[in-house]
């Protein structure tokens, strides 16, 4: 059974094939409904608007029936284990299960527990592979190739599954990744995974071809990891001034939802360099390719 659980370890060939297929969907050259008559179950243990909707639209466009299964709070607190829940859901016969869960490794556990295909739509602080792929797709669509390009990923790297998936995906495609953020949110161990690590945003931005601003995960922080939002914005926020100093043609990405005025000034989020809405748009095409690939 094909799953999509992580970008780490995924061969370049496979990433390229997915992005190529996504491109066919994006440009309207592919219209097959290969999931016709199949059921795609969305199992979300965390609130999500765009990822869930994006998978739902992609699945529907491929002809699938979509079952949305939303769980408030953790399964453990309700007395039903994750394994028990997914086995029940699997018994209804979905071809694909799209799983988001606040615990790292949850999607892998689901994949070990059921016989249908499993797509990781975000597991704790681990990976968010469809986001990594759609970000790479967005950059590739703009640039043609990622080879030798410099991408800065900025902000709450510690709690970010998006950062991990992007790091693996971008590096596999030949880009050079710089991670930047306050020391409390930037595990230095990640340099061993192939990234350059710096705490100085201006340094990180100096020659960046693209900058990906991460969402400050207020909900994942049990305690304040920096003194104030004002200070965060000043030191690690993409302010209007900083955006003006970016390299000519540099792109600004954000996985959303944006904390406007915190990691990203509203003017920059809505500015010419921003490809945030393109990311959302591309997300549907990429998720079509993913769903088709695993189903």
């Amino acid at each position: 059974m094909a799953h999509l659980l992580a970008i780490e370890g995924m061969p370049r060939q496979k990433i390229d094939a997915l992005l190529t297929r996504a491109s066919e969907f994006r440009e309207g050259r592919a219209t097959e409904r290969r999931l016709s008559g199949k059921v795609v179950a969305n199992l979300f243990y965390e609130p999500s608007t765009r990822t869930r909707s994006s998978f739902e639209i992609a699945a529907a466009a491929l002809g699938a029936h979509v079952l949305n299964w939303t769980v408030q709070g953790s399964s453990a607190s309700k007395g039903e284990s994750l394994i028990d829940t997914v086995r029940n859901l699997a018994a209804m016969g979905p071809a694909v299960m799209v799983v988001r869960h606040p615990s790292s490794g949850a999607a892998q556990l689901v994949a070990q527990s059921v016989r249908c295909a499993v797509i990781n739509a975000g597991d704790g602080q681990h990976e968010h592979p469809s986001q990594g792929l759609l970000d790479a797709f967005t950059l590739k669509r703009r640039w043609g190739s990622l080879e030798g390009k410099k991408v800065a990923i900025v902000g709450d790297v510690l709690h970010s599954r998006v950062a991990r998936s992007n790091l693996y995906c971008l590096a596999t495609l030949g880009a050079k990744v710089t991670l930047c953020g306050p020391a409390t949110l930037l595990p230095t161990e990640l340099s061993a995974l192939g990234a350059f690590v710096t705490y100085d945003l201006d340094h990180a931005l100096a020659d960046a071809d693209a900058v990906m601003m991460l969402r400050v995960q207020r909900e994942r922080q049990s305690e304040a990891m920096f003194p104030s939002e004002r200070e965060y914005h000043r030191r690690w926020g993409l302010t209007v001034d900083r955006a003006a100093r970016l390299k000519q043609g540099a792109l600004v990405l954000h996985p959303g939802p944006v904390n406007r005025g915190l990691e990203l000034a509203p003017e920059v989020a809505d500015g010419l360099a921003s490809v945030i809405l393109e990311q959302v748009e591309n997300g549907v095409a990429v998720r079509k390719a993913i769903l088709e690939g695993v189903a």
Binding site: S104, G105, E189
Partner: protein, 372 residues
């Protein structure tokens, strides 16, 4: 009860410095004496221990016992004396010597001193930290004239946070909340400072990292009456065991990067660590059907502790001491040795298969390998 002669084995008794081929005569529940091979009384019943090691019954400093199944596990692992942690449900058994750690704080709440029964083997707060230094100081003060050892679970929850794995490349990689070494080392340092001021006896449980054993080594070098133990899991597994979110790594305290494992083994070799303690917990399977961080931590290690530790290939006397006289003397217990007149607690193991073959408690065979 008639006499029993254990024949043909090799005797190790670290307390008495015994390392020799010898028969061992037991009678009336106690050790009578060592006997030259073939010289024992003809009238005695015999237990053939040819090619086996004959050892003092193992002593475990820390196990959470729910019911009789845990007792059977202990016996199958060679344990004849077990100190039940204060959150154990099992209160009594006839099968082995069950001792109890009294709760260091009331209901382990970390707020008020707990009541100390006359029979308490030590004071322990289970696997719950004592956050307030003032309270720990008071516990040490109170315990000192009672001659009761204070057993420490060293954890600063403000540093451990929601962590489930030692901080390092693996935790960063898997995106698992990490526990820095300072969560343990800072509390070892704190409690050593309190102990140095107050005196009495202190024992540190399940240490996991280099910094902690360095502090204990220094304290011992200064002549302080400190002792410590480590679990078989922390001696044989690093954080790498968590790869693929394997629940083999879901123990508490957390597993750490491999250089800490090496530091623990070094500390066994130079006698900084006094005992290997099982830290046995039998977690209900339904509590392990969740993602890694949501699973209840723990491992049922009583049955496997010896076999796991054997794999470290330590010198025999040293390894045996870590299971017998080491833990016994840490708590001042008169077990874990085969002196004449001592209770006839004997564990017989096969050094080749690493398995426990017989476990005798008070001269009675309570476990025989191959029997249900």
């Amino acid at each position: 009860m008639s006499a029993l002669l254990i024949t043909g084995g090799h005797l190790f008794d670290p307390k008495n410095g015994v390392d020799q081929a010898s028969d061992l005569l037991l009678d009336d529940g106690v050790v009578v004496d060592r006997v030259a091979p073939g010289q024992g009384p003809k009238s005695a019943n015999r237990l053939d221990a040819s090619n086996l090691w004959v050892l003092p019954g193992f002593v475990d400093l820390r196990a959470r016992l729910k019911d009789h199944h845990d007792v059977r596990a202990a016996l199958s692992g060679g344990f004849t004396t077990v100190v039940a942690s204060p959150d154990s449900e099992l209160r009594a058994t006839q099968e082995l010597h069950l001792l109890h750690a009294a709760p260091l704080t009331k209901s382990l709440n970390g707020e008020e001193l707990g009541e100390v029964s006359d029979h308490a083997a030590c004071l322990s707060n289970g696997s719950k930290p004592v956050v307030r230094a003032g309270l720990m100081r008071r516990a040490l003060q109170y315990a000192r004239p009672l001659k009761t050892v204070v057993m420490v679970h060293a954890e600063d929850p403000s540093l451990a946070g929601r962590g489930v794995l030692g901080e390092g490349l693996v935790s960063a990689h898997l995106g698992l909340p990490a526990v820095p070494v300072s969560a343990e080392v800072s509390m070892v340092a704190r409690d050593l400072a309190l102990f140095e001021e107050i005196g009495g006896r202190i024992h540190f449980s399940h240490l996991t990292c280099e910094g902690s054993v360095r502090l204990i080594r220094d304290a011992k070098a200064r002549g302080l009456a400190v002792s410590c133990d480590v679990t078989p899991m922390h001696l044989t597994r690093s954080d790498e065991a968590a790869k693929g979110y394997s629940l083999a790594a879901r123990v508490w305290p957390p597993l750490r990067p491999v250089h800490h494992v090496h530091a623990l083994i070094d500390a066994l070799k130079d006698d900084t660590i006094d005992a290997i303690a099982s830290d046995h917990v039998r977690v209900d399977p339904t509590e392990r059907e969740h993602p890694f961080d949501q699973c209840t931590p723990g491992e049922p290690a009583l049955a496997t502790a010896w076999r796991t530790a054997m794999a470290l290939k330590l010198p025999a006397m040293q390894l045996v001491r870590l299971f017998t006289w080491g833990p016994a003397s840490a708590l001042g217990l008169d077990v874990g040795h085969l002196s004449n007149g001592a209770r006839a607690d004997v564990t017989i193991v096969n050094p080749k298969t690493l398995e426990v073959h017989y476990t005798l408690v008070g001269g009675n065979v309570r476990f025989t390998r191959g029997e249900a």
